[in-house]
Amino acid sequence: MYSRAYKSLVSIPPIAWVGAFLLLPYALMFVHSLWAVREGVIVHQWNWENYKTLFTNALYAEVLLRTMRIAASVTLCSILLGYPLAYYLAFHAGARKELLYQLVIVPLWVSYLVRGYAWKTILGSDGVLNGFLQYLHLTHEPVGFFLYSPFAVVLMLTHIYTPFVFLPIYAALEHIPRPLLEASEDLGAGSVQTFWRVILPLSMPGLLAGATFAFVLSLGDFLAPLLVGGPSGTMIANVVQSLFGAAFDWPLGAAISVGILVITISLLFLSELLEKRWAFK
């Protein structure tokens, strides 16, 4: 066995890392959330005012609610796209499986910003989509709501997070022993019944992991609303960003961040709980 000294020695780097880059920033954030700003200066005056503002000011609740709605839409759309894709690849792609898998993964290597600007180019008033619609004479003037709307944010985030949803679902489907599907058929179930009774329950942990990815990552996203969201597509992270930037109200920004953190951690905890409930070993 390893000596005590060796064990303490190897545990120093991870502890130092987590301490310096995770625990310390979180502690600082939490401390800031309990301070205040007086005449443009942060004063170390302990109070709960920032949290009161967070709960009483309708603006923040509205943005937070919209953020959750967008995150939920992104999650739903990513599942609706990612699950069938994963299902097809796992069960019916045959020899094309490897190629298709790579094609799903490749966009992950393209910069987030590039993909964001690509959507701007597609959705803008003189963008590809509007140009195409007018070319077909389906519309006579540019459609405005394509860009700078919650719709655009959902579209862009769905595009970005679908591979994240696809991957765990695909892994779960690949791990279903094929004899189980034969057993289901043998017992009289057609492919639809087999899907509902065997495939879906057994892929639930993967589905849940993917949904958690999409929801949590969307919840904290600020680039998509910045690029394609417009005023009606503002999300909670943009509020935090402006509070730390132009508005110079770090304490309130920190309080909102703590709120998001609590939501995120609760979600992860819940998802962990459900995943355990659905994990069949």
């Binding site: 189980l180 034969e182 057993a183 289901s184 058929e185 043998d186 017992l187 179930a189 009774r197």
Partner: protein, 359 residues
Amino acid sequence: MSASPANPRQELPAGSAALLEVRALAKRFGAVEVLKDISLNIASGEFLTLLGESGSGKTTLLRLIAGFDEPSSGEIWMSGERLDLLPPYKRRVNTVFQNYALFPHLSARDNVAYGLRVKKVPANELSGRIGDALRMVKMQDFAGYRPSKLSGGQQQRIALARALVNRPQLLLLDEPLSALDANLRKQMQSELKSLQREIGVAFLFVTHDQEEAMALSDRIALLRDGALEQVAAPREIYAQPATAYTAEFIGQTNLLRGEIRGGIVTCGALRWPLDQADGPVIFSLRPEAIRICADGKPQTSEAKFRASVRQQFYGGSSELLEVDCGSAQTLRVRIPAHGPLTGEHDFVFSLCDAIRVRE
């Protein structure tokens, strides 16, 4: 092409009607011919075993009947209905899979209920049938357990109940006992046999274990490289093997290669009279057909040879000898427990025990 009269051993036992008919079935995977021209009948209530080495095509044949693979040519009929055109979920056969393939997310009870729920069997009938099925395999106390909490033998029982609860006319079993340890396997063999007698469902049982096949089956279909080598009752296939392969695969034997000339068989040091045409011959002579001849005087229907004992393997109630008849000819002899033996002895065997076989 069905049940070709050229090989009468494929016919059913007298007086029984065919439940399943396999007609000239063949299966190719790419260029590989896995099954060649298989014709085989299974009677209602029969316990038929597909026996063969790995790669002989026995599991493929089972999968064609279950519907998991499609035949390249040939037909499968069951009770007057063309089976091979139906999808697996419409066939009235059920399968016990090699590694049970129990649904891990369902309890033992829900596994058993699966087929009935899929067929929308009413709830009041459902619970009665599930209870009966669980009792039949003595698993009623484990109904609420997930498969991962059950031992191999218990999983085996649930797999059986899950298949039989659907009241199939034919149950397909793909090496169901191969994952169990030796003692449990013996016990399950006995239970499987009595269960099969009790419920009267035809079993098509796949195994590579010839002892298991002998102990359980009404008939054995021996497969070799995708073709049927011989189909017969265990006693017949042991006593009257048609080919050298069958004789060696089922039990132990001595294959004697030699020739007949002028009514005399010569196989190395062994010679005996036989009134058949001249030519090369192979005989199968089981080790237990040979005995030590203490007084050196054989009966008229016996052949005698002299050989020296090279090895002796003690086996409790019997012992196996390897004897050297000279000129590099070694025979195996099984005798009742005797005590240490050395040196040269006279051995005899009944002429009718030397079974002439094809290559």
